[in-house]
Every structure is written in C-alpha cells, then in structure tokens.
Amino acid sequence: MIRLLILLGLLWPASTSAEVAVLGLDDETVEAILSHGSWPPEPVRDPSNRVSGDPAAIRLGAALFDDTRLSTDQRFACSSCHRPDYGFAEPKARSEGRTLLTRNTPSLWNVGGQRWFGWDGGNDNLWAQSRRPILAPDEMASDAGHVARLIRQDAGLAACYRAAFGRAAAEVPADDVLVDVAKALATWQETLVSPPTPFDRFRDALAAGELDSAAVYPEAARRGAALFVGRARCAFCHVGPRFSSGEFHDVGMPYFLERGVVDPGRHGGLAALKASQLTRLGPWSDDAGGVTGFATRYVRPRHADFGAFRVPSLRGVAETAPYMHAGSLTTLAEVIEHYNDPPLDRLHTDGERVIRPLGLTDREKADLLAFLRSLSPRQPSPPPPVPCGGG
C-alpha cells in the first residue's frame, strides 16, 4: 500500500513537468521550483512554549509588542525597530538603540518555526530571542522587576496575563513573569505568516499542471526563478518554502564593526547558546523531554562559524531594504552584484565553494531581480494590534 502511494506520488509531478517544458523550464528546474512551496506552511505549535497558539497569549503578545513601557524609560517598544509598516524591519543599515547597534533589524514575517534566531543563531527558540531586547542594556534596558510590575499594575495587561497563563502575575516570581511575557510575545509573532505571493501562485499552478495560470507569472521572473535554482546556485542556501536553510554561511560580507572590533557572527552565537539557560534543553522550556532540542543537542562548532551569519528568508525581501547582517547593501540590485562578482579573496579556498563568480548578463540580473520582487505579497498586511482590555 505504502509502495503504491510512493509510486503515485512520483508519477504525478513527473507527468506534469514533462508538459511544462513549454514554459521554457526543464524537468529539473520545475522540480527545484516546486521545492519552494507550498505556502503558507501548516501552522505548528512550539512545544517549548506552553501558550503557543493560545488566543489569550496572542492578545497579550500583540499588546506588549507595541508597548514602550517595557523599556525602563519608555523609549522603545518592539515595534520601534520592528516596524509593522516596514515588514517588521527597519529602513536603517544598523539598528539604533541607546547606541548604534551592531546589526540590521531583521523582518519578523514568518519568524515562527525557525531553527535558530538572530543573525548569529544565539537562541534556539523564539521566546528566548524575544526576551533578549527587553534586557539588553543598549535596547530596552529593562529588568524582570520592571516588567513584572508593569504586568501586575496595569489592569488590562494583568487580565490578559491571567487569561493566558491561568494565574495572577502578582503570585508569580518576577523572573517567571518575564519569561511568560517573552512567551506571549513569541506566540503573537508566530501569527505573522506572510500571505501567498505571485511566485506561490506560479509554483502552485506548476504543481497542478495548470499552464495557463502559470503563464500569468511574468516571463522575466520565470527566467529569474530558473537562474535562482540553477546556474546562480542561490537555492543551495536559500532553500525550501522559506528560501532559507536557517544555517550559517560566510558569503564574503565584511564584519569589522570598527577598528579593533569585529562581529564574530555564528561563533559568538554558539557561545551565547552554550551559556544560555533559555534553550530548548534548559529549565525554562516547556518541552519536558527536550524532544525539539535536536539542533542544540547536536550542533557542531566549526572554524567557519567565525564571521558566518544566518541565511535570511527571502519572503518579502523587496520590502525590507537595506540588506545583509549589517545592512551594508542598500538595494537588491547591489545584492545581485555582490553574488555576481563575489570577493573571492575573502572566501577560503575550502570554504564556500558555492559562491563563485556568475557572469550574469544585464538581462539575467534584471530577471533575478524580477524573481526576488515576486517573493512579496501584493499587499503585505500586518495584523491589527488588539489591545488588552483597559491597557
């Protein structure tokens, strides 16, 4: 029976792809394009967060995300940097907190379900990553006592907290309230799933063998998609429906911050992970057996980690300039130039063999750009914030 299903499963795309050759795409290309869908993925709950998916926690998280009172001097809310009108990113190269920060603010679309969080993967779960800016001295500069007081004293937040966690914040130690707050923030961010894009409609039409609908996707973008999964080798790292493996690479971007100071990238991220109590294997996780702790349990330190950064998702990428971990490239065209003519002398001969000069023509660069633009939904629509009662 299972064997029959496998047979059927393979027969299906095989027969459609043969016909699709009409659109100028060979079998292999079609198969590769199909691997970038479907979208959106099935919603999954995070077992390390007991309120993941809980509507009351989502409401609390939504309210807090926009609340400057989380920072001691009311200067920053999460949304000050993760701007809902800017793909939950920021039109700045390096973010500015109380000082100039070291990295670009990443978009929060589709942030749930990642394997690693932060450009350096310093956390293996979304709630730990959400607690980070609250405590960071350069960002919200807050502490558990301050956050717990806020939750306990604001009637609306207190009610939302009780609804989400089934207990009154006043009866919970401040450290626990802080982690709960982070878990509520995570739960809300998990709802930030971007809508399907022109690329997704193309991909689904290919999958269904509906060539007429597939042909609606502009020809330039179609050629760009073929380049992306083919000769330009982008899909070795920007894999799957998220267009990211979630792993760490050095694509040749500089990582000096100033004279004498570098951003160690993944090397620092692993050190932070190792020191953290807030991992999926740690005491604050609600995933008792650490079943979802695969990545942290088996992760392997490498010399190449130094100066490596997480492969960003490319969904909605046209909306979130500037690019790369320190925002050093201002446009997608510049990113394409970077890959077309990479700084080979920054790459070890036995390092990133996938990054090699591409020799793209102007038309091919335009095609790749058209493809990247097609990864954005027509109207990216952030969900409206839902206030907590009297908050």
Partner: protein
C-alpha cells in the same frame, strides 16, 4: 617528614594552577594581506597575536609588504614566509605568471625568510615552470615550502627535489590515513592543522588522530589561517580551542605540536 608531606600536598594543590598556565603556541598559518592594513594596523595585528599567547607566528601575506611591516615591529614574534602573490585573489593565476620567480629572488636577496608560501598548487600544476623555479629557489636559499594542495602536488615537489622541506597546509584536508602515508614516505614533510577541527572537536582527540600524532610526533603544527583581516580576531579563540584538545594528549606530545615542531622548522629556515 611531615613537612615534606605537607610540601608535596601543597604541590598537588598547586598543580591545577600550573596546568592552567596557557601552553605557548606557534601559529604556523597567518596571513596579513593588503586589505587588512586599514582596520587592522600592524600594532593591532601584533597585539592580537600576543593576546592569544603566541610564542611566534609564521606570517605570509599578499603582498609581502604586510609581512615586512609586522616583522619590523616584532622580529621576535614574526617568522616571515614569502608569499608569491602580489595581491589577494592570485591563488590560481600565479602559476602562469613567469615574473613571479624574479620577484621572489629579488625579495629573498633583500629580506630574511624561513620559507616560501603559502601558495596554492594542485596535481600536475606542481610541475609547471613557475613551480619548478620556486622549488629551486627554496633549495638555493635553504627555506621550506608552505604548500596548499593535494598529495599529488606534494609528491611532485619531492620528485623535483628529494631534499626539499615542505609544510603541507591544512594537511591537504586529507584523511588521516592518507596524511600518515605521505608523512611515512617523506621525512622532510610537515603538516599544519589549520582550518580543520575533526582532530580536536570538543577538546578530545579521536583515536585515529591520536594514533597519527603518536606515529609522527615531530611533524604536526597548528595554525589559524587568517584569510580575512577580521579573522585575526579568531587567533585568540582558536588558540583557546587548540589548547583544549592539546590537553587531551600526553604533555610531551602536546608541546611538540603546540610549538616545538614549528620552532625547529623555523630555526632551520632562518638558519638560527
């Protein structure tokens, strides 16, 4: 008697502190290339090496000017090695550039070097005229060759000059068995362990590598490979990582890999 006992107890109690004294290291794989000079001026570069607790460092740069800047500043620390590249990114073009031997000869007349390298050469390219000239130069000036390439390239160099001394960069990224076979075949072959980690991940040396180190205690040395300026700030973390797996070896063997083997090769090349 009791004092003696007390004294030895004291010694025992002291041991951890003694052991915690960082093992001196010689890093055999450092580059200081032209793009490093702005954000990592020579004083910073030397400071980074000293902060990592290095006794010495084999430095080769594209162009050689970088090495000279550091050597002028810290002759006790820097073991100059002459890189046949004028700029970075010449890792494959240099073999077809017949002005390279003349450039090297001129520099070797002027400056002091322990070796020529690190250069990249694979398989049959090791028999190209430029490479042959480099092998002759090394013999003439009594310096070693720091070769990044496969086992075949190493064999071809030794075929040209059985008395050549070769430091095999990254141990060729080869398997332990293959490294062992080559070391057994050539007495004048050394191997650096730069940019590889399977011999010491997690601070333990797997039995295959332990066997290899035991068989060739005089031939291995460590290295970071600072292939970008930023990676100078990895020399320190790399030294810490290195000390962790060295501690898993018998102290005498650890010392040889940590610095003695490199010291011997440097002394030979510099005619010390």
């Amino acid at each position: 008697m009791r004092t003696l006992l007390a004294f030895s107890l004291l010694l025992l109690a002291w041991r951890p502190t003694l052991a915690a004294e960082p093992v001196p290291l010689i890093d055999a794989h450092i580059h200081y290339s032209h793009d490093a000079w702005d954000l990592l001026p020579p004083v910073d570069a030397v400071a980074a090496l000293r902060a990592a607790g290095l006794k010495r460092a084999f430095v080769s740069s594209s162009s050689d000017e970088g090495t000279q800047k550091l050597y002028a500043l810290a002759p006790d620390l820097i073991v100059p090695v002459l890189r046949p590249y004028r700029a970075r990114g010449e890792t494959s073009s240099w073999l077809r550039d017949d002005t390279v031997p003349t450039m090297l000869e001129a520099l070797m007349q002027r400056n002091r070097y322990a070796g020529i390298g690190e250069f990249h050469v694979f398989s049959a390219n090791a028999d190209l005229p430029v490479m042959r000239a480099v092998v002759r130069l090394a013999a003439k000036h009594h310096v070693f060759l720091h070769l990044h390439g496969d086992a075949e390239a190493v064999e071809r160099v030794f075929a040209q000059d059985p008395d050549a001394r070769v430091l095999w960069a990254h141990s060729g990224f080869d398997q332990p068995e293959a490294i062992g076979a080559l070391l057994a075949k050539y007495d004048h072959l050394w191997a650096d362990l730069a940019f590889r980690s399977e011999h010491g991940a997690d601070g333990t040396v797997p039995s295959v590598w332990r066997g290899l180190f035991d068989r060739f205690p005089d031939r291995f040395m460590i290295g970071t490979d600072t292939y970008t300026p930023e990676r100078w700030y990895y020399v320190g973390p790399h030294a810490t990582w290195t000390r962790a797996w060295l501690a898993d070896l018998p102290p005498e063997l650890a010392r040889r890999i940590a610095y003695e083997n490199a010291e011997t090769l440097a002394a030979w090349g510099l005619g010390e």
